[in-house]
């Protein structure tokens, strides 16, 4: 079973076209293995990305470099999934 220990989901808010462009560049970097939950649209719509643990520092550095604001929507995805699995197990029991 694949696990997601240390994966974070970031909610990113771009404020102008330059930052949107920087986010599009980020999305295109396949080696980071980003899972785009909400892609880049416009400045009024946040971007949600699941970032594997090994890509976190690269992604956050990229965001900081372009001064793009973000918050951590899910700090550790596996914790959320474990809770979900526990709920299902409890219901089954």
């Amino acid at each position: 079973r694949d696990t997601f220990d240390g994966h974070q989901v970031l909610r990113i808010s771009a404020k102008d076209e330059l930052q949107l462009s920087a986010l599009r560049d980020l999305e295109a970097l396949d080696h980071l293995q980003l899972d785009i939950w909400i892609g880049v649209r416009d400045v009024s719509t946040p971007v949600d990305i699941r970032v594997p643990a090994f890509s976190l520092s690269t992604v956050k550095s990229h965001l900081d470099y372009y001064e793009i604001q973000y918050s951590i929507m899910i700090r550790d995805l596996q914790v959320a999934l474990d809770e979900e699995a526990e709920e299902m197990d409890a219901a089954t029991r």
Binding site: I36, W37, I38, R41, M73, L77, E84, E87
Partner: protein, 310 residues
């Protein structure tokens, strides 16, 4: 295991086997209203089941509902299960639903991507695509919402098998998509088609692959507005609405662009609520509120379809 559909726990997530069992129980409990049609097989050989709610007649106009084409959006399959039970529970009691079913059939596909759904339970909770291997690539699966013959291969879909929005080698290459295409074509009298996804609260209509407005843009827009207003009346959940390309982004090969171009005027796609926690990873206590509020919007669309024959 629950012995009947009253004992089924609609407030919890269920495996594909449990949902298959649920479907069979619903059919056996309501033989005069519900039947199960197997419209095809998934790549891994699972049945692609559709529940048909019908009060009789032949070649009746029909409404199509599907949930779970993106397998990891579990709240959609869970909502679909609740919709099915709600239909049998309220037919004959709810005047609007009764009037709809006395005139039209409803088809409901609860697990639209069976392999992907099973995979989310067994191997990778974040899986979104189908499970068919891609020759020449180590990456598996196709985004079944980019695999339809509507602007297929255009902008807004990926040609890379490793992408989450990989369109596939050709339109209808995925058996899960082809099964619906064949069924809709052979039915020939589908009047509304609603494909239900989950994330970020939107009600969308064609087009996604082109900026050209749909012929019925005005009516679809008005109906969407009415539907989300009714949806919000329950818990205040706020939805955006509009054409796909103007509301989210350009997306080619999408489901409802194809259905609309087949002549199904009332073609919509939902993105259900993500309030309550994070994106589509909704805790189980969000299932019933999501299903109940969505039902109000679905009823608005179905009622309008029933009253405005074309």
């Amino acid at each position: 295991e629950p012995r009947n559909t009253d004992a089924f726990d609609y407030s919890r997530y269920h495996t594909i086997e449990e949902i298959y069992n649920f479907q069979d129980m619903l059919v056996s409990e309501n033989p005069n209203l519900v039947s199960k049609i197997v419209i095809g097989r998934s790549y891994e050989g699972r049945p692609i089941n559709v529940l048909k709610f019908s009060t009789g007649g032949t070649s009746r106009p029909a409404i199509w509902l599907d949930t779970g084409i993106h397998s990891r959006e579990w709240v959609t399959q869970a909502s679909g299960t609740w919709f099915a039970k709600n239909i049998v529970d309220t037919y004959g009691k709810d005047q609007v639903l009764t009037a709809i079913l006395d005139k039209m059939d409803i088809f409901l596909e609860i697990v639209t991507n069976p392999d992907g759904f099973a995979y989310t339970h067994s191997k990778n909770r974040m899986w979104r695509k189908t499970r068919k291997p891609n020759p020449g690539s180590s990456c598996v699966g196709v985004d079944p919402n980019r695999n339809w013959d509507a602007g297929f291969g255009g902008a807004g879909a990926s040609s890379s098998p490793c992408s989450e929005t990989y369109r596939g080698p050709s339109a209808n290459s995925e058996s899960e998509v082809k099964a619906i295409v064949d069924f809709v074509k052979s039915h020939g009298n589908m009047k509304a088609f609603v494909s239900i996804h989950a994330y970020s609260q939107m009600l969308l209509f064609p087009y996604g692959f082109t900026k050209s407005p749909a012929r019925d843009h005005g009516e679809l827009n008005e109906l969407a507005k009415k539907a989300i207003t009714n949806l919000a009346s329950l818990y205040g959940t706020r939805y955006r609405y509009g054409s796909i390309i103007n509301t989210i982004y350009q997306a080619s090969g999408g489901t409802i662009d194809w259905t609309y171009d087949q002549g199904i005027k009332y073609s919509y796609t939902f993105e259900l609520r993500d309030t309550g926690r994070y994106g589509f990873i909704l805790p189980a206590n969000q299932i019933l509120p999501t299903a109940k509020e969505t039902w109000l919007a679905l009823m608005t669309i179905m009622d309008h379809s029933s009253r405005n024959s074309y």
